[in-house]
């Protein structure tokens, strides 16, 4: 049984760490590329959301690389994500691929079936070591999240463009090679040291928050490197979604530092109900960023994403009320990198002028948005 799963940010580290630890056979799908996207859009339904197409592309490439068992999480709505696995299974079957799709559902009434599936997947390894492997992998993911956050914060100060990104890649490798909690602790110190020793220079920065749909926020290839571009443009970046925060069921988000209840409360004047996905979080986090003195918010969403479309309809109102500029980037397979780069440049300039105006005590009220 060769197991594979779609890419999503640093999920590959978590999953492959679990399988390495247990000594199970797995196939890491080839890194997302233009081909992934082409395969996904060829087979995917016309106006299904973007992540469905990209993960479909990942699956196809994984099957081509020899995988025969695909893992996908499923849920129960209201967002389409819960139905991805089922839809992709049907599409891939129609396209003539041979594989097994394992849908993992975590609702109370589906748990027994999920446990049976996990039992099959673990191939006779004891539950104890499975639990330990998952716990260790999550610790790695938590460290990666914090390193990424550090990189987001400091990228704008790089003396040499791309130095932080290079250091971060070395950190990834170091974390990946850690095999026990003791070495993970050592790696943690080394990695943070590595990032902090990237040569810096003092520069005028603006603070920009990234909100939006979790897949696109987490996946640098498909969001066209929004974080990195913003950092290179001289923005101190913070984002509202991190992988371990997203996986955490408690509602406490230690990396992003915003508790779900806090987000909900912040969104209440504009959006009063959960709308699936990250819709509520996008609105709430924008308000929180405003409270924390950020100069702008970039909202990243896939085309036709239902919760984010709601957020996008409401964000102009938030922006007008609070006077925080919000740039909504709608991304799909047609989005060009240059277009996004231009808009980000203009946005960072805007945020910078507003910050200067505010510091100088000049009126900087927002112009009507289009």
């Amino acid at each position: 049984m060769k197991i594979s799963w779609p890419h999503m940010g640093s999920l590959e580290f978590v999953m492959s760490s679990v399988f390495e630890e247990l000594g199970l056979d797995y196939v890491l799908p080839p890194p997302s590329s233009q081909r992934t996207l082409e395969l996904g859009t060829r087979y995917g339904p016309e106006f299904a959301c973007f992540p469905l197409k990209t993960t479909l592309g990942n699956f196809i490439e994984a099957i081509e690389a020899g995988a025969d068992t695909l893992i996908m999480v499923a849920g129960k709505g209201p967002c389409r994500f819960g139905f991805y696995a089922e839809t992709q299974r049907r599409i891939l079957e129609d396209a003539g691929y041979r594989f097994r799709m394992v849908m993992l559902e975590f609702e109370p009434n589906k748990l027994p079936a999920t446990i049976r599936k996990l039992k099959e997947l673990k191939q006779g390894r004891p539950w104890r070591s499975v639990a330990w492997a998952i716990k260790f992998a999550l610790s790695k993911a938590y460290l990666i999240d914090r390193l990424e956050q550090q990189a987001l914060h400091q990228r704008c100060l790089d003396r040499e463009r791309g130095a932080t990104t290079k250091a971060l890649e070395r950190c990834y490798r170091m974390v990946w090679e850690a095999d026990s909690y003791a070495s993970l602790r050592k790696v943690e110190q080394e990695a943070f040291g590595l990032l902090q020793n990237v040569p810096r220079e003092e520069r005028e920065t603006v603070k920009v928050g990234i909100v939006g749909e979790f897949y696109l926020v987490l996946e640098p290839f498909f969001n066209l490197g929004v974080e990195e571009q913003l950092g290179n443009l001289g923005a101190y970046v913070e984002r509202s979604v991190y992988l371990t925060d997203w996986l955490r069921p408690s509602g406490n988000n230690p990396v992003a530092g915003q508790h779900d209840r806090e987000v909900e409360e912040a969104a209440r004047p504009y959006l009063t109900h959960f709308v699936g996905g990250e819709g509520l979080r996008s609105v709430g986090a924008t308000v929180l960023y405003h409270r924390n003195g950020y100069d702008g918010v970039v909202h990243v969403m896939p085309f036709t994403c239902m919760p984010e479309t709601i957020a996008k309809s409401i964000l102009p109102r938030v922006s007008r009320d609070l006077g925080i500029p919000v740039l909504s980037l709608v991304i799909d397979e047609m989005t060009g990198k240059a277009g996004v780069a231009t808009r980000l440049e203009a946005f960072v300039d805007l945020a910078r002028f507003r910050r200067r105006a505010r510091d100088a005590g000049i009126d900087y009220s927002l112009q009507p948005a289009f």
Partner: protein
């Protein structure tokens, strides 16, 4: 108090319920009526580009009401059946309406959620009633009355009346009269019954001499049986009806062909379409035409596809295709 009810989205299912409830409570109900070109274009210019067509139409209706009423009634239907959700856009609808009117008019938004049990729903309805009257008995009576009106309306739809005549209580024009060709026009209520955005599809089909079967006319039991066969439950309640109706039509050959009405870019429909098309193919089912409509759909192209589909079905069934007159509706 003058309360406006926008005639888009779920109005095509609960319109009767809402108007009769509010009227029984003594409110003056102002409806925005049927979709028109100006409603659509004001909605399109105000709504977010990425929204689906019915939401844009809904925006138009809300804007049409904005200056005429004291409050707009946009209930939030979170779940209308245990274990299911409605579409996320309906969860956020009152907030979208609030953003559309820019707080010039208050939005009355009771939350109906069947996941939380009947007591929560009763309280939501009751506190809605308290906005209009202090008499508890009157609220309960209005609720029961409205509910029976609603049941009657749904029954009329089941019998084969379209939305407009079911609302008015006319019983003459049946969609299904036993003509030789029968087509299932299946989709969300607001996609099938909105005469403007569908360019009077139902009328056109019946003037072509075709019987129409809507999702409401497919027996509940058949839909439920089909849904039980699916490996993964569909968790959108309105999608369940659509998928159930399509699969039941296919398996039991209730129709000669299916037109699946989808509005661009409907999220759940894009997923359900894959499911339905595959199941249909596996059952060796009936011809299916997925019609995707948006605000740019041209009448000519739309009509051509419908005519071609009908002709194809006629030929398949071996009915001599009569000389067709130009159809103007």
């Amino acid at each position: 108090m003058r309360v406006g009810i926008p005639g888009g989205l779920l109005y095509f299912r609960y319109g009767k319920l809402w108007t009769s409830f509010l009227q029984a409570l003594g409110a003056e109900v102002v409806e925005s009526g049927e979709t028109t070109r100006s409603i659509l274009s004001s909605g399109v210019s105000k709504a977010e580009n990425e929204s689906c067509l019915p939401v844009k139409v809904f925006y138009g209706h809300v804007l049409a009401l904005r200056d005429k009423v004291d409050a707009i009634f946009v209930p939030r239907l979170v779940s209308v059946k245990k274990g299911t959700h409605t579409c996320p856009k309906m969860l956020g609808l009152p907030d979208l309406a609030r953003a559309a009117v820019e707080d010039k008019v208050p939005v009355i938004a009771p939350t109906i959620n069947f996941q939380e049990g009947m007591w929560a729903n009763y309280r939501a309805v009751y506190s809605l009633g308290r906005l209009f009257t202090r008499d508890p008995l009157r609220i309960v009576r209005a609720g029961l009355e409205a509910w029976s009106e609603h049941r009657l309306y749904l029954e009329r739809l089941t019998l084969g009346l379209d939305h407009r005549s079911a609302l008015k209580g006319e019983t003459e024009d049946l969609l299904c009269e036993g003509r030789e060709l029968r087509i299932g026009v299946i989709g969300h209520h607001y996609n099938v019954y909105d005469t403007f955005t569908t360019m009077s599809l139902l009328d056109r089909l019946s003037s072509m001499g075709v019987d129409v079967v809507t999702a409401d006319m497919v027996p509940e039991e058949l839909k439920r049986r089909e849904l039980r066969r699916l490996p993964k439950d569909i968790y959108w309640s309105y999608e369940q009806e659509v998928a159930g109706a399509i699969l039941a039509c296919t398996r039991y050959r209730l129709v000669d062909g299916i037109i699946f009405m989808i509005s661009f870019p409907c999220g759940p429909d894009s997923i359900i379409r894959v499911l339905c098309e595959q199941e249909n193919r596996r059952m060796g089912g009936v011809p299916m035409l997925s019609l995707v409509i948006d605000e740019h759909t041209g009448e000519g192209g739309f009509l051509t596809r419908i005519e071609a589909f009908v002709d194809m079905l006629r030929r398949r069934k071996g009915i001599a295709s009569e000389v067709r007159e130009a159809v103007a509706v």
